[in-house]
């Protein structure tokens, strides 16, 4: 049933496609980490319309499918003169989608900071920016790093969806290989095993990170 010769013959292609998958994950995650900050600041803003708008944006992005968002960015934007490559569209969609999740993670980190810290900053006459940069963020982010790590793994597992907009990542490659030889068993199984392996290793890494961070606090 299982043909090792055949498996070995397509593994190099699969590994090459894995690089695309991993780079889409990393770029998308970077985008999400950065975009999450303005979202959480907007949501916590004292200016009501901005807070409402950001909350609406976050809720909408969190309750609609990533696939639909990817299609929207890839097919609708070019109609108005902004076209993206499959990679760019996929990374933007992943980044935006996960930015809404990460903003909630940041929020929980910020809200866990005792009020006394804000008061101490006020007592020391710190400016708003200085309060955030040197007191709040350094205490709010490290405890939530493991949660962010879990979202990174989640994002990694979501990248096969980008195959829907013709990005030749690992699943798309497996499909192409399968279509050539009419054998889907080996390529798709190997993709599954690679995902299992990589996400298991990363989740062990996240757990270790969690332990180390807990030691510090």
């Amino acid at each position: 049933m299982w043909d090792w010769q055949y498996t070995l013959s397509f593994m190099p292609d699969l590994m090459k496609a894995l690089i695309t998958t991993i780079s889409a994950t990393l770029v998308g995650f970077l985008l999400a980490v950065v975009l999450g900050l303005p979202l959480v600041l907007g949501r916590r803003s004292n200016f009501k319309p901005l807070a409402l708008l950001t909350t609406g944006f976050i809720e909408f992005f969190r309750s609609t499918p990533l696939l639909a968002q990817i299609y929207f960015i890839f097919y609708v934007f070019p109609k108005y003169g902004i076209s993206f490559s499959p990679f760019a569209a996929g990374v933007i969609a992943l980044g935006l989608h996960y930015a809404t999740y990460l903003s909630e993670v940041y929020r929980s980190g910020i809200e866990s900071i005792p009020k006394g810290q804000w008061e101490a900053a006020a007592a020391l006459n710190f400016s708003r920016i200085r309060t955030w940069v040197s007191i709040i963020i350094p205490q709010a982010i490290p405890p939530v790093v493991p949660v962010m790590g879990n979202y990174l793994i989640g994002m990694f597992k979501d990248t096969p969806i980008l195959s829907a907009i013709t990005l030749v990542e690992i699943l798309q490659t497996a499909k192409i290989i399968g279509a050539h030889s009419f054998r889907y068993l080996e390529p798709i199984t190997m993709v599954g095993i690679l995902f299992l392996l990589l996400s298991y290793i990363s989740s062990v890494g996240v757990r270790k990170l969690e332990l180390r961070l807990n030691q510090r606090y």
Binding site: R62, A68, K79, I188
Partner: protein
């Protein structure tokens, strides 16, 4: 230049402008797309309901399995949970749809969708079941022992009713995640909401309206889940600390 010529020229330029505007804003009211999209939404709802049922059954079996005293059961359920949480949902769907037939197991797209969505989100929900049961204070079990209850009685009368309360909010999130996950079945040719959207786009090229409607319908479908869970939560926690 005669007046009639001037009028003709003006007319031409204005009609050209209208054409140009049409090209920039080619949006027509998308209500005529609704019947087809709603037919797809019906499939999406069916899929969500059936897979949620499968997911919860799996979640309780595997969640309790991970807490079992028998090592074999614990191992099997741990491997199950790690396997489904460790691989990509879309890869699992492809596997069920393209690879399983090689062993003579021919699933329709609907069956494959319900099965994989249920098994996959069941693995996530199993972790919720497990952590909620672990969150019940030990003294509750001891109280049950003191009252001479059997282990089964302690589980059913004391632990589960309290644990379910803790489970509800995260379960609501899982159902929303599952609803979003159903969009992936369009890639294994099941004609759900997403699939209908893609079909309409490729036949009418009304991209903006179609995909906006699709996003909007998904959002509307998720709303009752969000509010429903919030209400149940409020009702269940009534009269409790």
């Amino acid at each position: 230049m005669g007046v009639s010529e001037l009028i003709k020229k003006l007319d031409q330029s204005s009609s050209r402008r209208i054409q140009q505007e049409r090209r920039v804003f080619p949006i027509q009211p998308p209500f005529d797309l609704l019947p087809q999209l709603l037919r797809g939404a019906g499939i999406t709802i069916q899929l969500t309901i059936f897979s949620t049922v499968v997911a919860f059954i799996v979640a309780f079996i595997m969640g309790l399995g991970r807490l079992s005293k028998i090592r074999l059961i614990r191992w099997v359920s741990t491997i199950y949970v790690e396997f489904f949480r460790g691989t990509s949902l879309l890869v699992q769907l492809f596997w069920a749809y393209f690879v399983l037939p090689l062993w003579g197991i021919n699933l329709t797209a609907m069956q494959a969708g319900i099965l994989i969505l249920g098994l996959s989100y069941g693995a996530y929900a199993a972790e919720i079941v497990r952590s909620s049961i672990l969150a019940i204070p030990k003294s509750q079990i001891e109280a049950g022992v003191a009252l001479n209850m059997t282990q089964g009685q302690i589980m059913i009368r004391i632990i589960i009713p309290q644990a379910v309360l803790i489970m509800l909010p995260p379960f609501g999130n899982i159902i929303i995640e599952l609803l979003k996950g159903t969009a992936l079945v369009s890639l294994i040719t099941l004609s759900d909401l997403m699939f209908q959207g893609v079909m309409i786009r490729s036949t009418t090229l009304r991209t903006t309206e179609t995909f906006s409607m699709v996003l909007l319908i998904y959002f509307v479908l998720a709303l009752p889940i969000t509010f429903g869970i919030r209400r149940i939560e409020g009702r269940l926690s009534k009269g409790r600390a």
